[in-house]
């Protein structure tokens, strides 16, 4: 701009364009309601907060399919979630957790034998930093990330410690909040299971074959043993 103050005027023209434009072009709004929408974000807005009657915001309406907040434990449905819990209390996640916020105790039956499920599974979400490393290291796909964010509690110490039963969520719920990720995970698990079964079948068949061969060899040996006698008798 050649005349003095021209730079300021051209800047003001930009602000004016943005101000007027924000009524017509959602791209010029500084809030989240622009037309450009990320993949997986549902077109409902969060509405007023907090909702009347203490109702919580539903997880699926306000966050994207990919957001992660705190971990949860998966079970495969059924009457009692503890019957189908995937966690076997192997404690790998506890060991790998960077801020050490996971606490696991194994469950034992009346004979003192481990029954491969957690008696205690606590996560201190006031310490958890949502890094998702527990999800990566879990070999049983038992722990995944939740997107539940309404966790505020008046109890500073106890309220943020999530116990096993708070963490237990069904696989259906997981499919609801992270559909693509859950589908991919289920597919991978199915493939792994199939591969495992195929391998098992193969080993079983091999064992069967081996047993058959052994039996045949034994039978032949027996026949050989018996044959001289046969010859004699004949």
């Amino acid at each position: 701009m050649s005349f003095p103050g021209g730079g300021i005027f051209s800047g003001m023209a930009v602000t004016l364009r943005n101000f007027v434009g924000s009524y017509f072009d959602p791209d010029r709004l500084t809030t989240n309601d622009y037309s450009w929408r990320p993949v997986g974000k549902l077109p409902q807005s969060a509405g007023e907060y907090p909702k009347e009657g203490g109702e919580q915001l539903s997880d699926t309406t306000t966050v994207t399919n990919y957001s992660r907040n705190f971990p949860m434990l998966l079970h495969d449905g059924g009457v009692s979630p503890m019957d189908t819990i995937r966690c076997v209390a192997c404690q790998i996640c506890e060991r790998e957790c960077p801020p050490q916020c996971i606490y696991i105790e194994k469950a034992y039956d009346e004979n003192g034998k481990s029954i491969k499920s957690p008696e205690k599974f606590d996560i201190d979400v006031s310490v958890c930093m949502s890094c998702q490393i527990c999800v990566e290291v879990c070999p049983f796909d038992a722990i995944v990330m939740n997107s539940q964010f309404e966790l505020s509690s008046p109890d500073r110490f106890g309220g943020l410690l999530l116990r096993r039963d708070d963490l237990l969520k069904s696989n259906d719920y997981y499919h609801r909040i992270h559909p693509e990720e859950a589908a991919a995970r289920d597919q991978r698990m199915a493939e792994e299971k199939a591969a495992k079964e195929a391998k098992k079948k193969a080993t079983a068949e091999a064992a069967k074959k081996k047993a058959e061969e052994k039996a045949r060899a034994e039978a032949e040996a027996k026949a050989q043993e018996e044959s001289p006698g046969n010859e004699e008798t004949s």
């Binding site: 701009m1 003095p4 103050g5 021209g6 730079g7 300021i8 051209s10 800047g11 023209a13 930009v14 602000t15 364009r17 943005n18 791209d27 010029r28 709004l29 500084t30 989240n32 622009y34 450009w36 990320p38 993949v39 997986g40 974000k41 994207t64 990919y66 957001s67 992660r68 790998e96 957790c97 960077p98 930093m129 949502s130 890094c131 998702q132 490393i133 990566e136 990330m145 693509e180």
Partner: protein
């Protein structure tokens, strides 16, 4: 210790003395808990001492007690604006310890993420910088509007907007979801429109010119000697960019220019960042054009347990050279883990730049350095 050649003028009948002001640690212009002990003669700065450490959590000591992988989410929290580049620097250093080949697609995605991060950093830095000049809110909110779109991209790719924790030794944690690249392209294509407007809004504004031109000059020699890196070094006239010099990752495949300044004043530092965003967009366009399909994770060992060695990996972060110095001793934990934080070392010259300037300009100079206290204090 006051400025060299400084003399307090004595006047008869009047008692004069220096005024000591402690700016911060909660002053809004200090970008966090940072304090400047300033000695003033009237409005002129005659001495300045930066005081920090309020956010110190001994990140390096924490890291020595944790496995290599478990450190990755902690690097996000160093410079919380640029978690992707922090991840990259650490992954780059760790990949030297055990030789892992990073797949092609992962390399491209790394470049895309790093350049998007650079856009996020520069766009919000410019917003905060003019905020320090007194342009409260408006330019910053325009910047945040654009930043929001990029953060949404990060959220889809990694699950988190700022603490991404997306890089792994030998690749990336997961592939980007379907349709992500198209969205990224849309953001990249729309960005120049915003930059044009932003330049019109700020670059010729007479107030900005008079507040920044000739303020906080940093000579070329001092900049090199003091180890200044990043846009601040280039504003002083040294075209030293690790993307060109080291060509880490696959940066040698992209065509881009390295903008640099002449004067080394606040305006040059501001303009270098504005121009760098254009170059980042160039890189992003080329990367989005050429990204191949394929694996995103190399053959990394199941248990990361490197042989004894010492490595230093560095990248061109948005704020300067971000380096990680690792000493492995054959256990799953690093024996020594050191971060070379760019904004910490860039603070070395704060005093030199502020001496003889007005107190109001000290705020502008600090804003032009671009510090993040999570990284300065570690």
């Amino acid at each position: 210790m006051v400025a060299p050649n400084y003399e307090l003028i004595e006047q008869e009948g009047l008692e004069t003395s220096l005024l000591e002001v402690s700016m911060g640690p909660h002053h809004p212009s200090t970008h966090g808990v940072f304090r400047m002990d300033v000695k003033l003669d009237g409005e002129n700065v005659v001495d300045l001492k930066p005081v920090f450490g309020y956010l110190h959590r001994n990140h390096e000591k924490l890291a020595e007690n944790m496995s290599y992988l478990a450190n990755m989410p902690f690097t996000d929290r160093l410079d919380y604006f640029n978690s992707m580049t922090n991840n990259w620097a650490y992954a780059l250093a760790a990949e030297q310890l055990v030789e892992i080949e990073v797949p092609e697609r992962a390399e491209y995605l790394r470049v895309i993420m790093a350049e998007l991060t650079r856009l996020v950093n520069h766009v919000s830095l410019v917003g905060f910088f003019v905020n320090d000049l007194g342009a409260l809110g408006t330019p910053l909110l325009y910047a945040f509007r654009e930043r929001e779109k990029i953060l949404d991209l990060f959220e889809q790719a990694s699950g988190a907007r700022m603490m991404c924790n997306y890089f792994r030794f030998g690749g990336l944690r997961c592939d980007v979801p379907e349709g992500w690249l198209a969205q990224a392209r849309e953001v990249v294509d729309q960005f120049p429109r915003f930059l044009d407007e932003y330049e019109k809004l700020l670059c010729e504004n007479e107030i900005i010119l008079s507040r920044t031109q000739g303020i906080g000059k940093l000579s070329r020699e001092l900049a090199v000697s003091a180890g200044i890196t990043g846009p601040m070094l280039r504003a002083s006239g040294v075209a030293y960019d690790l993307r060109k010099v080291d060509a880490y990752g696959i940066y040698d495949r992209f065509k881009f220019r390295v903008p640099y300044g002449e004067e080394g004043d606040c305006y040059d530092r501001f303009m270098v960042r504005m121009l760098e965003m254009r170059e980042s967009l160039q890189i992003l366009k080329q990367a989005l054009d050429n990204i191949p399909e394929g694996e995103i994770m190399g053959k990394a060992p199941r248990v990361f347990k490197p042989k004894p060695a010492e490595v230093y990996g560095r990248i061109e972060g948005p704020k300067g050279e971000l380096g990680f110095y690792l000493i492995a001793d054959g256990t799953p934990k690093p024996y020594r883990y050191r971060v070379r934080p760019p904004s910490f070392i860039n603070l070395t010259v704060l005093r030199d730049m502020c001496l003889g300037q007005k107190i109001a300009d000290a705020v502008v100079i600090l804003g032009s350095i671009d510090i993040v206290l999570g990284e300065v204090d570690r």
